[in-house]
């Protein structure tokens, strides 16, 4: 056992240097060199200011924007979390019913399931195309533009299944909202007025 312990300690230290330091550091170098934007978190900048990550949902409440899926952790990208409530949880059922009523009052359409359920990460950057298109009327009214134009913009922003088979069709909320701001600038866009360009 004593002889084994000596080999065990030396090998542990060797593997720490190799897989715990060399491996991640070399990969950091490679990833930073090959895919710098992705390796740093797919950050979106406007006027040299980071306004978010294309991969991470952020809250949107303004009537002129697409709204993301509910988040059990308040879109906290520094400490993620889900509801983790079970399928027969009365608390979950009540929360979903409340969200449904609020969403339908704001949007005037019946809510798709992804609009009333919290995502796994609390940071789901996407919504379903049905969810996005149902919000087109509200967005068009808030921005004072034609609903057809908003719908067309959403359809153009829709991502299909990968290889036509895998995953679900989806719309990235942050990117589409930035596209909405670019296509239909002016007052009434968001709850805070027009974001500075």
């Amino acid at each position: 056992m004593l002889a084994h312990l000596r080999s065990a300690l030396s090998l542990t230290i060797l593997f720490t240097a190799l897989t715990g330091l060399a491996y991640p550091l070399v990969l950091t170098g490679l990833a930073q060199g090959l895919f710098p934007a992705a390796a740093n978190g797919s950050l979106v900048l406007r006027d040299h200011t980071v306004i978010g990550s294309a991969l991470v949902a952020q809250p949107f409440e303004g009537a002129g924007y697409l709204h993301p899926r509910p988040s059990a952790s308040g879109w906290n990208a520094g400490g993620t979390g889900a509801s983790n409530l079970g399928p027969t949880s009365a608390a979950l059922i009540a929360t979903v019913a409340e969200r449904r009523a609020a969403w339908e009052a704001k949007t005037g359409r019946s809510a798709p399931i992804d609009a009333v359920t919290a995502s796994g990460s609390g940071l789901d950057p996407d919504i379903s195309p049905e969810n996005a298109l149902a919000q087109a009327g509200r967005i068009a009214a808030a921005r004072g533009v034609d609903i057809g134009a908003v719908s067309r913009l959403i359809e153009a922003a829709t991502l299909g299944r990968t290889l036509w088979l895998f995953g679900e069709p989806r719309v990235n909320v942050l990117e589409t909202n930035l596209a909405l701001d670019a296509a239909f600038p002016g007052p009434g866009a968001g709850g805070q007025g027009t974001p500075t360009q």
């Binding site: 056992m1 084994h4 080999s7 065990a8 300690l9 030396s10 090998l11 542990t12 060797l14 720490t16 897989t19 715990g20 491996y23 991640p24 990969l27 950091t28 990833a31 930073q32 090959l34 895919f35 992705a38 740093n40 978190g41 797919s42 950050l43 978010g52 991969l55 991470v56 952020q58 809250p59 409440e61 899926r69 879109w75 990208a77 400490g79 993620t80 889900a82 509801s83 983790n84 409530l85 399928p87 027969t88 949880s89 009365a90 979950l92 059922i93 798709p112 399931i113 359920t117 995502s119 796994g120 990460s121 996407d126 919504i127 990968t162 088979l165 679900e168 989806r170 909202n177 974001p195």
Partner: protein, 555 residues
Amino acid sequence: MTILAYSLYFAALVGAPLGLALWMGRVYGGVSALAGMERAVLRAAGVNPERGMTWGSYAMAVLAFNLAGFLLLYAILRSQGLLPLNPDGIAGMAPDLAFNTAVSFVTNTNWQAYSGEAQLSYLAQMAGLTVQNFVSAGTGMAVAVAVIRGFTAAKGGTLGNFWLDLTRSVLWILLPLSIILALFLAWQGVPQTLQGAVTAVTVEGGEQIIARGPAAAQIAIKQLGTNGGGFFGVNSAHPFENPSVASNLAQCLSILLIPVAFCFLFGRMAGDRRQGWAIFAAMAVMFVAGLAVIHWAEVAGNPLLGPGANMEGKEQRFGAMLSALWAASTTAASNGSVNAMHDSFMPLSGLVMLVFMQIGEVIFGGVGAGLYGMLLYVVLAVFLAGLMVGRTPEYLGRKIEGREVTLAVLAFLSMPLGILVGGAVAATAPAALSAVQDAGPHGLSEILYAYSSATGNNGSAFGGFGAALPWHTTALGLTMLMGRYAIIVPLLAIAGSMLRKTRAPVTAGSFPTHGPLFVTLLVLTVLILGALTFFPVLALGPIAEETARMAGQSF
């Protein structure tokens, strides 16, 4: 469409491991071009790799190595606040949580009672967890290769040398695959940076702190080594940990890649590929049956929440199907990473996931661990077959006798011991019960899931369960140790005792262990021994919840 998607996926799931098994066979046999580097590493550790080991010596080496790894990881976790590479200023871990985390990563469980982005420095993630991701996987692979040698090598051979098997697993299998996968993931959007969290001013003028870090490197090995511990708290549901459908497919395949390859490696080393296919077939039948249930339940959705698939706790990009596929893969393979929150899955999905873990993670299972776990059932199945026809049971030409069956039953007992005893205590002790989040039968499922996951060395959780409670960090830590070593040691003993037996020639009277009859017998043995042991408690948890749900009852 769904059938075509699954077919393509399964084709990849058989094809890639077939190729990998070929390479693994060469690696464990020794590739002369690589021998120089192996020797250099081992000489630095003062090891003579030429020396074959007895089963006892092999087991001692495994224990000594894992003990050293535990001590180093524990020290890093406790002192991370004082160490470098800590841009977000994270403090040292409390003793009970550090114990739980260190045990969890050394035993290849990777149960997370902490949230990565909030409680771990980059140094702890890299030099602590990533290292154990590699070497705990390497330990499982080495043990599996030794056990295979016990069953297949000529009489008087040895189980091999642990240090050599471990080094070969890490250097020539895990490391190259991880580098390829990590680069793919970084391309897809997984961060790999040493810079700390970034503060964004959102479009509507709010502030959002976005945690990131050297994630891609760790996530690659977390999947390939069936570790499963996420860089971020919500694991592969986090858009940084699993940004796209392509990254999801690559990770999901990586979870099962090496475990499936071990089936084919077994056939190669036995000199009879049909033996490997038979074990693969038994595993695949159970996997597909379980996956079908989860897929159906999640796509059908939860009428209590409204029409549509069950999307609570799921990501839009993955939807019900890819979440179901992942849930089946991660619980079958003792990986334990998640891309959707298992606590919010439908009751029948939870049932399948529990059974997958409770039978001892033998449906592909952990890297190496799945195969040696299944060999335990093979010993029992052959023994049962022998009892039925009144002949001395044989496997691969060697007699299975009292000693092997006793050891196999001993190893088997660790699952019910950890799950039923650990779970029963947790379900009655007031100090433990406050961890339960949901009322009704789902609350029992939460306890059951935690103890099944820990004993099976899986690591996934019903996340509502308050695993950070000191009671559970300690109790779950102990069950993880039992679920790992109370299986490894008896299995190495079985391998050692098989090696001493003469191989009898196969005759017309031998019971063939490669046809559909044997596959059926093996599946039945797993289901009857494994699943029936837990049926009573499953009836009180997920089955009761499903009947309540059908009646429209909530809790």
